[in-house]
Each structure stands twice: as C-alpha cells, then as structure tokens.
Amino acid sequence: MENMKEVILEYVIDEYCDDESSDISFDTPLISGGLVDSFSMVSLKRFLENKYNISIPDDQATPEAFDTVTKIELLVKKFL
C-alpha cells in the first residue's frame, strides 16, 4: 500500500497550493495556519472517503482533526 501520508500530502499541495513547490510537511498546520479554509475541507474529506473507501462522520471531520497531514492519517486509519 502506498504511503498514506505521502498521498495525502500530494493531494493537499495539488489542491490548496498555487505554487507546487510550497514548503509543506506532514506537520504543517493546514487550517490553523490559514492554508486551508474550513470550507475547502469538503474536497479533502471527499478525496479521503473515495480514495480509502471509508465514510467519515461530519462530527469527526473537525478543523482540529484535519489540521495536519499526520492528524488526517490518524483519522483515516480509525475508519479503515
């Protein structure tokens, strides 16, 4: 299985950054850091659900749970 963190990071850079060389790591704060607004989380949630064939309940798809790639991986693994 491909590295989940790498997959998520690649999606985040492609989806949210205008400059593909953006310096984002697994622990860069995405939402609290202003890179991803809470509305734009919608597409990230959809991507994760489609990619990993899971369903993330809305009450668990919080800005805190989506704040870094590391945290997102933890969230996804809960539903695998």
Binding site: D18, G34, D37, F39, S40, V42, S43, R46
Partner: protein
C-alpha cells in the same frame, strides 16, 4: 451589574491583542463631502488637512454630484425620511419598484430585488434558493459577505483556486450529481483589481448545468463599454443567473444593494431572504438619488470613459516610475510593497504630502503581499492625478523601491 470586571477584562485583553498585533482599525474623520478633494482630521484631534482621496469606491464621482443631491432632496420632500416598516408590510413605495425595474434594465436581467446593502444581499440569497441537496462552488478569494452568506446556507460548499478554470471544472465534475450547482465569483476582485473570466465560466456552467453567481459591486456603472458590469465586458450579458451589486460604490455611494437575475431567483428572495424579510429596505432619499444616478449613466458614458482614461494615465505613470503593480485594467490599482510596515510608513508619508491612500497587509491580503490599494475616480482631474503621482514617486524614492524587483524589496524590508 451584569457587566462585571471579569467580562470587561476579557474584552480589554482581546482589544490589546489586536492593538499589539498592529491590526487596530482607526477611523479618519472627514469633514467634507466625499470627493477627490477632502478635508481630513487624522489623528483624531489634529488640525484638519486638505488631501486628495485615492482610496474611495466613488469610481464615477457621483457621491456628491449636484443632480444626485437635488434628486435626493426632492425624494426627501416627496416621499419622506423613513418607511418604519419592512417591504412586505407597509415599507414599499412606488420608487422602490421603479428602482428595481431600472436596475433590471440597466443590468440586462429579468428582475431585481432591493436589499439594505449588498452585504445583506449576499447574506440572504444562498439560503433563500438552495437546500442541503445542492452545492455552492466558490472562488477562494470571494468577498467576505459572500462567505458569510454561504455559512448561513445548508448547501454543501466547495471552493476552487482563484480564477483557475481547470480546477473549477474538476469541482463541477466532482459535484455533478447534486440537484442544484451554483458557481460563485466576484466580478472584479477588490484587493487585486483583476476581473473574473466570466466568458469561460459561462461555458463551464452551461456544460455542467450549473448556475453562475457574480458579485459585481466593484464593476456596476463603469466596467464594460456602457458600464453595465463585468458581464458586459466579457460578452455574456443575459447569461449570468444571479448578480448582486451595491449602490454604495459607483452608483452614488450612499447605501443599499440588490439581487438581480432570473425571475424565479428574485421571487424566491422576496419570499425567503431574511435580510429582505426582517429589515427595512433602502430609505426613500437614497432610492431617489440612485434613480437619478442610473438616468445620468444611461444617457452618457462620459463618466466611465473619463474613469477609463484616468486609470490608463495612473497605471502608466506608476509603472513608468518603477512601481510594481498588480496586473489588470480596472480602477483598482494595487501598488505592491510586500512588507506590512513599509505599507504603513508609505501611507503615512503620502498623507503628509496631501495624498490619502491606505496600506493593506495580512490578514486583509496574503502574508507578504502588503500594498497600497489606490482607486481611481472620474472625479479626479488631471491635476489630482499628477500631484498624487508626484507624491508616490517622492515616497518611492525615499524608500528606494523604484525600479526594484519584488525580491529586491523583500530582501531589504522583509515580507
């Protein structure tokens, strides 16, 4: 007393945080009418200073136009001061409907409904026309009032990268199964002065059976050959489903806004839009003024033509002087300084030289993209622009930024 010291402490601490971060907003008191030449008291308590205003939304110089003032006076005399009612109880006069009809004609739409402001129009429209079965797909740089309106709406919300049509198409594909889809954009973006690609957006919306929403507040009255807005400029008159716009900028600058577009959309707003249902509409005096503005603009394009030539002069002058501007051809001309403190110092020095222009920095604009946003008006005469240009060049020389690249300015001042 419910307002205890501990409550007071909470607010005082928050206000201190804002101040310490350099983000405290302060008003500058203007002691004259809104115009190219204004009299300003700043800081509060200081002597009144005559300055040239290059930061208002008075794009067509209609805010203090004598014919508009006369129409407002006449409206005050004939229709009174206030309505003391919302529209659907006893707050609608003949002139309110007259203004709605005139706006529909001016914008080339099917119908129009007035709102107390465009902020209210944007706050009310989405909830009135969409449900949880639907999706809103907005440009990531849309105005704050649109964001507030989308927050109040149960429909799914997704975004696309600013002005990126490929990304928008991906999102339209992603949400293809939704009952209703609305693509949402500003016509002209207020901080950068760039224009939405409405021609391409119309094609995508037709392909994916989506509606197109445009906030044309920074366009109505002067963008396009006859000033109808970005839909005229992009050649898509009659193809925008929902236009929101304001009377608080080019159309007299007092207050008020509207939703204009498809008849059913306007009808739904009249039944369900909360700022329309639960707030008084525009005062008769303002309605009377806006009606006159529309007559003046419909009779001649002289003012928007003058604004266009003023804008060309201003952009050319700043560019040749060696400033870095945001690309575009609208009267919103951002002079890029990148560093927040430099933008504030620059603005202060301009004020000392008699030019009123405000510096913007994060979080109003992205980090490292601080700027002086200038806005040109048909109310500017050549002597205003020449004096303002001269002041910009003097201050630009002081800070040694003329002819410098973005990187050179950042290397010197940081970002």
């Amino acid at each position: 007393m419910a307002y205890s010291n501990s409550i007071k402490d909470i607010y005082q601490a928050q206000l201190k945080e804002i101040k310490d971060a350099g983000l405290l907003k302060q008003e500058r008191f203007i002691h004259s009418s809104q115009a190219a030449d204004i009299e300003v008291e700043f800081p509060t308590g200081s002597a009144i200073k005559k300055v040239i205003n290059v930061c208002s939304n008075n794009y067509l110089g209609m805010s203090s136009h004598p014919e508009v003032l006369k129409a407002a006076h006449d409206g005050l005399d004939s229709r009174g001061y206030g309505m003391s009612s919302v529209r659907f109880i006893c707050g609608t006069q003949d002139i309110h409907r007259e203004l709605e009809n005139k706006m529909s004609k001016f914008l080339g739409t099917e119908d129009t409904i007035l709102f107390p402001s465009c902020m209210d129009a944007n706050a009310g429209v989405f909830e009135a026309i969409l449900t949880s079965e639907d999706v809103m797909i907005s440009d990531r740089l849309v105005h704050a009032s649109i964001i507030d309106g989308m927050r109040l709406c149960p429909a799914l919300h997704d975004t696309f990268k600013h002005s990126d049509m490929e990304h928008l198409e991906k999102k339209l594909e992603l949400h293809a199964t939704k009952r209703l889809k609305v693509v949402i954009t500003d016509g002209v973006y207020s901080m950068d002065g760039d224009t939405a690609k409405l021609d391409e957006m119309v094609k995508l919306c037709e392909k994916y059976d989506a509606m197109l929403f445009v906030d044309d507040s920074h366009s109505t009255g002067f963008i396009g050959k006859t000033g109808r807005g970005t839909h005229e400029k992009c050649g898509v008159m009659g193809k925008i489903d929902i236009i929101t716009t304001t009377f608080g900028k080019a159309l007299g600058g007092a207050s008020g806004g509207c939703v204009s577009g498809r008849k059913e959309i306007v009808d739904m707003c009249r039944q369900k839009a909360r700022p329309y249902l639960f707030s008084n509409t525009i005062a008769p005096v303002v309605v009377s003024g806006v009606l006159r503005v529309l007559d003046i603009l419909s009779q001649s394009t002289e003012r928007r033509d003058k604004l266009e030539s003023n804008t060309i002069f201003w952009r050319k002058g700043l560019t040749e002087a060696g400033f870095i501007l945001k690309d575009g051809d609208t009267p919103i001309v951002p002079v890029m300084l990148f560093n927040a403190k430099l933008s504030q110092d620059f603005s202060k020095d301009l004020f000392d030289l008699g030019i009123y222009a405000v510096g913007f920095f994060f979080p109003v604009v992205p980090q490292g993209a601080a700027r002086i946003r200038t806005q040109i008006s048909a109310g500017h005469e050549m002597h205003h622009l020449e004096k303002a240009l001269d002041a910009f060049i003097k201050v630009g020389k002081k800070y040694e930024i003329l002819g410098k690249t973005k990187q050179e300015i950042i290397d010197r001042y940081g970002c």
